[in-house]
């Protein structure tokens, strides 16, 4: 059985849970007391992931860290339709490009949320302005896609690029980041919410 080392309110764990749900993969959640316990910084958890980060996925003898790597593995291994991580080289490359974006630039929105909701000590003005810059890039891309009659970040079906980018966009309100200026982001989130087996987490607005 697949085991996900998980904290419910983590956006990075949420994206993995979303894909496990979309692909209907049986799994077990191992609860990590990220807050307030900071269990991810414990000696025991450091043996699981020396980077002291969640999520971590165990599948048999394979252990993976990094949400984006986990999404790519699950799609390649379990998506028999091969739509969530396309084989076509150009689309594959584009998906990987947005996975990189989700793991770096977009994490500024995560930082703002950790500051506002959980009291993490960090530069909140910087986090919010970096998040807005990332949102503008994503919104512009989605505008171009919508002109072409497309809904998703890459190709004509949802991919792990959408899954990787959704959580910290949807949870941005938790970090005091408004979405008034990103109409295309809002259209995309609405479409994402309508995917079969979509599941919300606390802080994802019911109406976007």
């Amino acid at each position: 059985m697949i085991r996900l080392h998980n904290y419910t309110l983590s956006g990075s764990c949420y994206k993995v849970r979303l894909l496990l749900g979309f692909l209907e993969i049986q799994h077990e959640l191992v609860a990590v007391d990220f807050f307030p316990g900071q269990e991810h910084k414990s000696v025991e958890f450091s043996a699981i992931n020396p980077l002291q980060q969640i999520p971590v996925l165990d599948d048999g003898n394979l252990r993976l860290r990094d949400a984006q790597a986990i999404l790519a593995y699950l799609a390649r291994r379990y998506d028999t339709g091969r739509t969530w991580l396309p084989d076509d080289p150009a689309r594959f490359g584009q998906v990987m490009m947005w996975l990189g974006f989700a793991g770096t630039e977009l994490m500024a929105a995560s930082a703002a949320r950790l500051h506002d909701a959980f009291g993490f000590d960090l530069d909140i003005d910087r986090a919010r302005s970096d998040a807005h810059a990332a949102f503008a890039v994503l919104d512009d891309h989605l505008a171009e896609r919508q002109i072409l009659g497309q809904t998703w970040l890459v190709g004509d079906t949802p991919t792990i690029a959408d899954v990787a980018c959704f959580p910290y966009v949807a949870l941005s309100g938790d970090g005091g980041i408004g979405q008034e200026h990103y109409p295309n982001l809002r259209i995309w989130q609405k479409a994402f919410r309508r995917l079969p087996r979509f599941d919300a987490v606390s802080g994802v607005p019911e109406f976007v």
């Binding site: 904290y7 307030p36 938790d174």
Partner: protein
Amino acid sequence: MTITSDSVALNQWFPVAYDGQVKPGASRDTILLGEPLTLRADASGDLTVQTQTGDTLPTIRAFTLVFTTLGDNPRPMPVIQEFDEPDRRVVNCGSVGVQTSPCRIVENFLDMAHFCFVHTDILGAVDETEVLSYKTRLHEDVDEIWATDCKFFQPAASQSARDASAGQLTDYIYRITSPFSVMLYKTAMGYADRLDAICLFIQPKTETDCIAYMPMALLDDVSSTTSMIDFQQTIFLQDRIILENQRPRLLPISPRSEMPTRADLSSVAYRRWLKDKGLRFGLLLEDAA
């Protein structure tokens, strides 16, 4: 930022940290009622709370939290005996920042009508929305408002109930233990005559920027501590998004500003009690435009 001049607000005990938040030898800056404070932990983790002018404030350690006060004659701390019962699991859920009035946070905690819509499939179900009649009473000896005889159908009333059944009619008792703190007692899974105790203590940094702390004293031999924290945080972050979107952020106190229903009995009692105390902090006193 300046400290409030509201003597009712000043004369309260407020949490400023949860146990273990400031590591031994470390310090942390925070704000209480507009007053910047520095918390310093000694080698054993005990906290000293100081103002910017170097005054050391009194502290009380209780309910997994550290409390302090800026007043000369603070309202006594509430007595919550459940935290002293040896067979209880005392759980510290950390703290969560919420940008709204402390009084809105208290009022949301008292409200049963939102269970079905905000905590769908957990604390309420969309086909069981009725708030049955309940009673409120001012206990003058301790100056607390209690709401009793509360009942609500809940698909998953707690972590242990979620694991055990498909739903239950949960009994609730609410206690407003100060203008800025509230708690509830609710049916504990597997106990006929004892109740779980869940508290909400609020640290108002300003009138519209708060830190909420949620210590619990539960009867549960089954669930892991991590899963109990997870359950409570999931609930509170569902509330948080609603609370931060309520306007005005200050709680309107004029009876003409909103139309309460029967389900709002405890909220009406709370607002009237705040008004009788002469509290201004966190409240919108004039009629809403």
